[in-house]
Symmetry: none
Subunit: 290 residues, 4 copies
């Protein structure tokens, strides 16, 4: 190695340093350079740096086979990317329909006519059904890959279930069954069904709505509501206890149901102790009569 | 209960609501400040109270149908739980086989005979193939649910790919193709294949091993190694650039490959500038001479 | 290697150091700005270099003694790993027994017959006792190491204590003593006892169940329950106050007991103010009369 | 229930509200009161609130037995509290001795005479030994409870091991064995030994010191140091690989050792490529000669 001009050496210096993006010692840069890697490049054109493959002959051309393979990957990734975009587009429509339904249902806390609200909310179910049909069509070409993209609409479906079960409960006082939920959404075929865990998580979300409902019903004068809700929630809680839940999201949601139960118990206690229950055995009056 | 002044009733009213320390609806307290339970009772005598929207009477028996349904859920959740345990057991064996292979391959950094190491590591591939066969059998009963449990072995498979591609590169200097990797693991059937993204992530992990390999090879006197690795990594990096990567894990891993490339360039620069490359064309001299 | 200007050498020097992007010793770059490797070489010719402080020559063979020692560690770590797995297996059985007991005891909030529930729950105590016996046997071989693995079943034991003390309180209205709890679980031998802190934490957990119990008892018409629970909880709280608690988990749990006490006081206040207590001495009337 | 004066009712109101420390609705407090719970207390002296136990007879006195039991707990908790304080006092002396040793050893990075530093640091070992003897004496009365309090000095002992092994390595170039470490600290009796995991963690900490040591040794002209350290660290890393580490702290520390290894490899690479190694086969010169 012979004499190298300082300026050029500095170029190496810069070159080297710029490779350490997290260099903690900016001080070094103070001693800096005026030549760049560009200069290095001009002096040593790429063509003069001959490369060969690791294999002892240099006669195989990795680039070609590599390129061909990655060309195939590109096509595949783009296809799955496009599919995903189509899924997301439908899911976003499901989400916005759900939001409309929820806005309607929330009025239940303001003592609006339940029948009217339910009618309005029910009209959205067919919209949802149509969306799930579209989703199934989008996924049509990739049988067996349902669970591959499934994470993309899972959370929205749980919300849908919470709406449907809440509405059904308002109508009938009972729990909308898994199969009934599938039918409402047109998901009752083998390929594209309603996952049981999602159904159960949706039911937990629905339970979270009940304490508020009870409070507002009592406020508006329905003193028998706490007893009915408590009965429903106690049964539901007991049914969940049958399941041997793993330590996962569903488990966590179910643990939360305990608090809903306690809150409803407290409201029931409140109306009971004041003798506000329909059968009229006012405990409050008792005290006075005694 | 006799006459109670409104002010007192308000106290009770507030009392009740204040039982919900996290009451999400403070609105109630604002809009009902002067109405009390007593007032409500007068407006809605107990007898007139009815759950118009809920099932009339208590004559439906939710407990039974509920219990039956949840009994079915229990069975289903237990089945999927058992399946998952069986999957995990096989995956843990895959992981420990991989650890053995990795311990062997690491010796490559100590300039041990590559042929010997490869022979030893290769002997584990059939073990892995057997494990993947077991995994396919475990999943046999649930066609179409491959992707449902897929997250349970995804990361292990990426590591397996990184081993296989590193070994193949040591042997041939070229990239083990996706299809070749599938064949080695016996995953080349339509139901249970090697996901392209996992293959690509595994390739990125393999790339992370190269800078260390180059440093140690130069230390032990192999001055041509950097050139070969640089050629390989440059081609690989360029091939990845063909892909339109989403903003996800693969993208992040690919971004890391850039650092591997830079480090290898640096080492190549080191040997080149000192004229240590086999053909002896010292860059330094050239630069001065040019 | 011929003449190289200091400036260039500095570049190399810096280069080397910059390989440590997280170099914890920036001081080096400050104190050695003008000294280069070349200078050092002149000052310390290669021949004079010696590891005065390290074993001279390479004639010690660390690999062998090292390997032998680590082989022993491997055995020891595997043994403790196996022991831990056996412990965890028993602990998981304790946990699932406890869950069954808890599911039974929860029915107390629905005004079921306490005797029946207690009988059912009591039948599980012998199962627990058997599990603790197994745990003692598993630990048999490692006398003096009780506290080494103790963290593995600590939390489960606290839950067990909370069940036992709740059941005992339902039966007798008094606190199950530490020694009685030990006897029920067969832990009354010197080697493997029930840690006092765990007993106390379990008692705190039990206290957390009382407010809900009181609310539901009053709802179902037992107006004397709040007075009894309040008396019990007041005494218990006072007893805890005797202890000089450190700033730890037990302390935190005890602090929570204060809220249980307040809630029960509140319910007692509710029944008292309405004259619902058995002896009929309505506070409200009294207050007015007084 | 008869007429109750408004002012008094407000008192109840306050009373109630003040029990909800997390009341999100401070608005309620605006409507507040001038009478307090004190008034309530004066009107209803404690003596007039008769309590009885849950047990049907009121003839058992829970307070007494409860108090007696908690009195025993108090004694026990205070004893263990005192013991803990005594442990902490010794441990804090161990920690400060270790700090002195570390300050001495750090000078090794500034090319001070190793022999002098080691002599100084070695003189502290007897101090440490004495402290561990004191610790054993403090724990003397509680045989079998070693692991109960063990967390209180665990981390300090790991640091002690890292010092001892670093010093031993500086002296001999080999790893201080577990048994030797125990002897140095006088821990070689069955009751109070040196936990293997702590020894191994200490060794990992020691490994973290080596990259910096190598950098500074090369800076001060010792070009053979990287080779020796690399040999030691490679052997150590391979030995650790024999262990089947659980997914815990030790595992994490061991994973970090990989980075120490890489850094030392890079420094070795640096001296090698510049022909600075003692055997004089300057690769740099080669290029010039060619």
């Amino acid at each position: 190695m012979q004499y190298i001009k300082p300026a050029f050496r500095n170029a190496f210096h810069t070159f080297t340093l710029s490779r350490f993006p997290l260099n903690p010692n900016p001080f070094i840069l103070v001693s800096l350079p005026n030549l760049t890697f560009e200069t290095f490049r001009r002096l040593h054109p790429v063509s003069s740096l001959s490369f060969s493959s690791m294999a002892d002959g240099d006669n195989y051309a990795p680039s070609h086979s590599l390129e061909k393979q990655f060309e195939a990957f590109r096509t595949e990734l783009e296809e799955s990317g496009t599919l995903r975009e189509r899924i997301r587009s439908v899911v976003s429509e499901i989400e916005s329909t759900t939001r409309v339904m929820y806005a309607t249902l929330l009025l239940v806390h303001q003592s609006r006519s339940i029948n009217e609200l339910l009618e309005k909310a029910n009209s959205q179910i067919d919209v949802l059904k149509e969306k799930y049909k579209q989703l199934a069509q989008v996924l049509g070409g990739c049988s067996g890959q349902y669970y591959r993209y499934y994470g993309d609409w899972r959370s929205e479906t749980q919300t849908v279930v919470s709406m449907l079960t809440f509405m059904h409960w308002l109508e009938t006082g009972s729990l909308l069954e898994h199969q009934e939920a599938e039918e409402k959404l047109g998901l009752n075929n083998s390929e594209f069904g309603l996952d049981v865990e999602d159904y159960l998580i949706g039911v937990c979300f629905m339970s979270n709505e009940l304490p508020r409902y009870v409070v507002n019903q009592v406020t508006s004068g329905d003193y028998d509501c706490p007893r009915k809700v408590l009965k429903f929630l106690t049964d539901l809680h007991a049914a969940f206890r049958l399941l041997n839940l793993r330590n996962d999201f569903l488990r966590k949601k179910f643990d939360g149901m305990k608090y809903d139960l306690r809150k409803v118990e407290e409201v029931y206690y409140d109306v009971k102790i004041r003798g506000l229950t329909p059968n009229g055995d006012s405990v409050g009056e008792k005290g006075v009569e005694g």
